[in-house]
């Protein structure tokens, strides 16, 4: 009697075991939703002649390929540029504009601009978050005498606001893009 019980139990178990095999369906592709592949900073001078574009594009994200960095030309000395930053996710088609998300959650984000000491240029914020603190997807860049060096755009997520600069702000770096520029 007991043997029968045991036997039936083991048969049941092996049934359960074999019953749930093979649901052979191919995996579904995942296109990363929040990846930022492209940062474009457009610098429009006051006289609106030579617009300069700084662009970095990294289509494979964390993949092995390095970002492709392009600077459309040299900056003019003693000029004030109106700057606008656009962020895109180009792994999706059509490309998704991530700047909109950053601006929607403006109080959780801030751009910082790091200008190397050899470069005669200064920046000021021209757009602000819902609390009136710096946001920086729009800014002005004022150049001085001819020189060369780097401009780095850093986007931080959840920085301390207000702050005295990127060192003080903390938060998590979403973007860090460096461009080598010449002022002439």
């Amino acid at each position: 009697m007991k043997t029968i019980k045991l036997l039936s139990l083991s048969i049941l178990a092996s049934l359960a075991f074999t019953a749930c095999s093979d649901d052979d369906e191919a995996s579904e592709i995942v296109n990363e939703e929040e990846v930022i592949t492209t940062l474009t900073a457009t610098l429009v001078p006051g006289n609106s002649t030579d617009t300069i574009t700084l662009k970095t594009q990294d289509l494979d994200g964390d993949g092995p390929n390095d970002p492709v960095v392009t600077v459309s030309g040299n900056l003019a000395a003693d000029t004030t540029y109106e700057g606008t930053i656009v962020l895109l996710n180009e792994t999706e088609s059509p490309a998704e504009n991530i700047t909109e998300e950053v601006e929607e959650e403006s109080d959780e984000h801030q751009f910082f601009y790091a200008i190397s000491s050899g470069l005669n240029a200064t920046t000021t914020y021209t757009n602000f978050d819902s609390n009136g603190e710096n946001l920086g997807t729009e800014f002005t860049l004022t150049t001085g005498a001819a020189s060369s060096g780097n401009i780095t755009f850093i986007l931080r997520h959840e920085p301390k606001k207000p702050n005295t600069g990127s060192e003080d702000a903390g938060g998590e770096t979403d973007i860090s893009a460096t461009f080598s520029v010449v002022i002439e």
Binding site: C20, A26, I29, E34, D60, G63, P64, P67, H157, I175
Partner: protein, 799 residues
């Protein structure tokens, strides 16, 4: 039965007529089955209200009895109470037999394996029920950490993974209630999904010798076992409450068992743990709380030669991950490492924010056994496990509340084991196992899969035999064969696929090409052999020598094969390799043990040589638009681990005892001739305990825990350019933290409440001096100090 005894008592108690009453009744209470003496049996003489308890040799004496017939009742915790009639004539002596069930039950309930020796030629380390209860509010990893040679790999203080003799994760096999846990154990941030309160005792076997469980336990096997249930009509349980000052929370766990004389029983158990942010000595560790809910049900019937048991457990744990550990690229890493305090410190809260983990584990098991004359004991078990792991990252926009990782791992296992005694001297354990596993990574996370979808089939067969050569030598040998088939669907980034030259090597596994990704279908067959050979030699009554050689083979885990992307909490890009083969370990271990009441010790040196050892190390710094990340690649190499574990205890005076533990392990990459990363530093624990059974079983212990700084480690530091300061800064991810010393205090007292219930009160302090320290094996050591002082109050009620 009880009614019988009562009736006899009633009938006979009337006949008390005074006469010569200077006789005594002496005797012995023994087990009906094998004649062993039963201590602590209670004997009540009806009519005289006399009560005595048997000594450790089962004997007793009742004085002042008259020459007449008495009714006595004998009861014992593990036996049914029985009434006897005895005629006293002068000084009388008699042997009483009780049906003692404990011996049978050891065999019946716990799978035959549990109370038996699991492996003879390796010293088994067992953690007792008392110790498990002390750690009721902690995790399995914390409890195991009390064994010499075991450390823990931590992510903060709530994700604790055991490291055995320097190895962890997929190399550690965890057998929970007879079931091999399949809970995504490959991940260094994936703690075992086991409620420590479901275990009555925990056994650790260092090394891979216990082939009945697996052939790939290169580090060792951890076995948790439930409590025994006695075959008698009874209802009993316990409730434990533990309150902690650090984390401002507590743990409540309760268990109730109903058992019957006919062998049926049921146990229901549940645990609730809730903690807010923990604290380091100087600041709050923001977002480190945890909320754990577990329940289990066990029922079945146990008879002498057959039994059947069902078990179901539910485990759910939500764990916050330190806010300050969530960082962007190498630039953030520099800021975090250089800062003396965490980059994020908020006020204390119970809320669990992102990043966090949310894990649910279901385990169902049914098993039965039957003893056959001449064949042995046959066990059959089927189990099903479902592990659902959600990991939440800090995300923006619509995705803020979406998990970044969503894995469902389902596992079915069938085990058939036969335990036979071939002759007086030879035993043979043999068995078969079959397992089917399905991993599903939900694509709706919007994040590329960390681990691909796969199906895995395992078949195993083993045999282990022991031969008792003579009274001092025992020889043990075993072998196991495992076949594994894996069918994987993996998306690769086209750029990675090409950079690895996979497009040339494996064009045949490509299923479909997309814009910037490629779907592939790798399939694997692994044929793995493992074996063990060992012996024990009884030098004399005190000294025993164990020798064991074990070979184990491990199939590479999915993260080693398929990782390909950013590992956020480590802030590094991790890359696997689909060409990996099985890792093979050859371990030699020796143990000299001295057992004695005054001075006892065990010394365990070992050497583990591993070919195709999978290790992860940095190779380059990758530029991305998010900044720079260090790239860590898995690779296979030849490794060797050498170590020594020492335990010793010395009893100074009746109630005073000194315990000592020492563990040393050195790991080397023999191909590159450099130390292995994340090897536990040398550590020693020394403890003074005082116990006074007369003062409510007062126990006081003062413990010192000293962890040395790790002096051998590979240098993986790198430099990164910081645009704000225009400097190249060193990112020191290698240098281990300094040595540290912690003092812990423990105390408890027992109080009897009624005949069948008692209360234990305990008061403990960990990190008594509130020392600030960081541990080399805690992956959050870059970002924050470890835990500060904690006062805890434990109340245990047995009923």
């Amino acid at each position: 039965m009880r009614i019988y005894a009562l009736m006899v008592l009633l009938f006979t108690s009337i006949t008390s007529i005074s006469q010569n009453c200077n006789n005594s009744l002496s005797g012995k209470v023994i087990d009906l089955h094998d004649g062993t003496a039963l201590k602590e049996a209670m004997i009540i003489v009806a009519g005289t209200e006399q009560m005595v308890v048997t000594n450790s040799d089962g004997t007793f004496t009742i004085p002042n009895l008259c020459n007449q017939t008495y009714a006595i009742q004998i009861s014992h915790p593990f036996c049914s109470t029985i009434g006897f009639k005895i005629k006293v004539d002068g000084d009388t002596s008699k042997v009483f037999k009780l049906e003692h069930h404990l011996e049978e039950l050891n065999e019946i309930i716990v799978n035959g394996k549990s109370q038996d020796t699991k492996l003879n030629s390796v010293l088994e380390e067992t953690i007792s029920k008392d110790k498990v209860e002390q750690f009721s509010n902690a995790s399995l990893g914390d409890v195991l950490n009390t064994i010499s040679g075991v450390s823990s790999l931590n992510t903060g203080n709530t994700v604790v993974k055991p490291i055995i003799n320097g190895l962890h994760s997929s190399r550690v096999v965890l057998i929970n209630n007879g079931v091999r846990m399949q809970d995504q154990e490959w991940g260094v941030e994936h703690a075992p999904n086991v409620d420590v309160n479901t275990a009555e005792n925990i056994t650790l076997i260092k090394g891979a010798g216990a082939l009945q469980y697996s052939g790939d336990a290169i580090a060792g096997v951890i076995i948790t076992e439930p409590s025994k249930v006695f075959i008698k009509d009874s209802l009993y349980g316990k409730t434990l409450l533990s309150l902690s000052s650090n984390g401002q929370g507590g743990t409540l766990t309760s268990k109730l068992t109903k058992s019957y004389e006919n062998g049926w029983f049921a146990t229901i158990q549940g645990t609730l743990k809730r903690y807010g942010d923990f604290k380091a000595p100087d600041y709050v560790l923001s977002n480190t709380g945890a909320f754990e809910r577990n329940a289990s049900l066990r029922f079945g019937v146990n008879r002498f030669n057959y039994g059947l048991e069902g078990y179901y457990s539910f485990f759910k744990n939500e764990i916050g991950i330190l806010s300050a550990s969530h960082i962007g690229g190498a630039e953030d890493q520099v800021r975090a490492i250089n800062s003396t305090v965490p980059l994020v410190i908020n006020n204390f809260t119970y809320a669990l924010n992102n990043p966090k983990q949310d894990i649910t584990h279901h385990l169902a098991r049914i098993k039965g056994f039957k003893k056959f004359d001449g064949l042995g004991r046959l066990d059959i078990q089927y189990d099903f496990q479902q592990n659902h792991r959600l990991e939440y990252d800090i995300r923006v926009g619509d995705d803020a509340d979406k998990p970044a990782l969503d894995l469902v791992l389902k596992t079915h296992t069938l085990l058939v084991d036969l335990d036979s005694k071939l002759s007086e001297k030879i035993t043979l354990k043999s068995g078969l196992s079959a397992r089917y596993q399905d991993n599903f990574a939900d694509p709706s996370t919007g994040v590329r899969r960390l681990i691909p979808d796969y199906e895995k089939y395992d078949l195993g067969v083993y045999g282990i035999s022991t031969y008792q050569l003579n009274s001092s030598w025992l020889i043990e040998a075993g072998a196991r064969f495992d076949y594994t088939y894996m069918d994987v669907f993996k998306f690769y980034r086209t750029s990675f696929w090409e950079s690895r030259n996979y497009d040339v090597l494996y064009p045949e596994i490509v299923v479909e090409e997309f814009a910037n990704q490629i779907l592939t279908n790798p399939e694997y067959d692994f044929n793995n052999l493992s074996a063990t050979l060992g012996s024990t030699y009884l030098i004399n009554d005190d000294y025993k020598l164990f020798f064991n050689y074990s070979m184990a083979s491990r199939v590479p885990n999915p993260s080693e094969l398929f990782s390909e992307g950013l590992h956020h909490s480590a802030s590094r890009i991790e890359l696997g390799d689909l060409q990996f083969t099985s890792e093979v370990s050859n371990k030699l271990s020796l143990t000299l043990q001295k057992k004695s009441d005054v001075f006892g010790f065990s010394i365990q040196p070992y050497m583990n040589t591993i070919s195709n050892f999978v290790t992860i190390e940095p190779t380059e710094v990758e530029q991305t638009i998010r900044g720079n990340f260090q790239v860590w690649e898995y690779r296979q190499t030849n490794a060797q681990l050498l170590g020594l574990d020492i335990d010793a205890s010395y009893t100074f005076a009746t109630n005073l005892r000194f315990n000592h533990q020492f563990s040393l392990v050195k790991g080397y990459d023999r191909t590159l001739n450099e130390p292995l990363i994340s090897m536990p530093p040398v550590n020693t624990t020394n403890e003074l305990t005082y116990q006074n059974p007369k003062a409510n079983n007062l126990k006081i212990a003062l413990q010192s825990e000293f962890v040395f700084g790790q002096n051998e480690y590979p240098n993986n530091n790198f430099e990164v350019y910081i645009p704000e300061t225009e400097n190249w800064e060193l990112v020191d991810v290698s240098t281990p933290p300094d040595a540290y010393h912690l003092l812990n205090f423990r105390s408890s007292m027992d109080f009897s409440i009624s005949k069948s219930s008692n209360l234990t009160l305990g008061f403990n302090v960990t990190n008594l001096l509130n020392t600030s320290y960081r541990d080399y094996l805690n992956s959050l050591r870059y970002y924050a100090d470890d835990l500060g002082r904690n006062f805890s109050l434990n109340i245990k009620f047995n009923y």
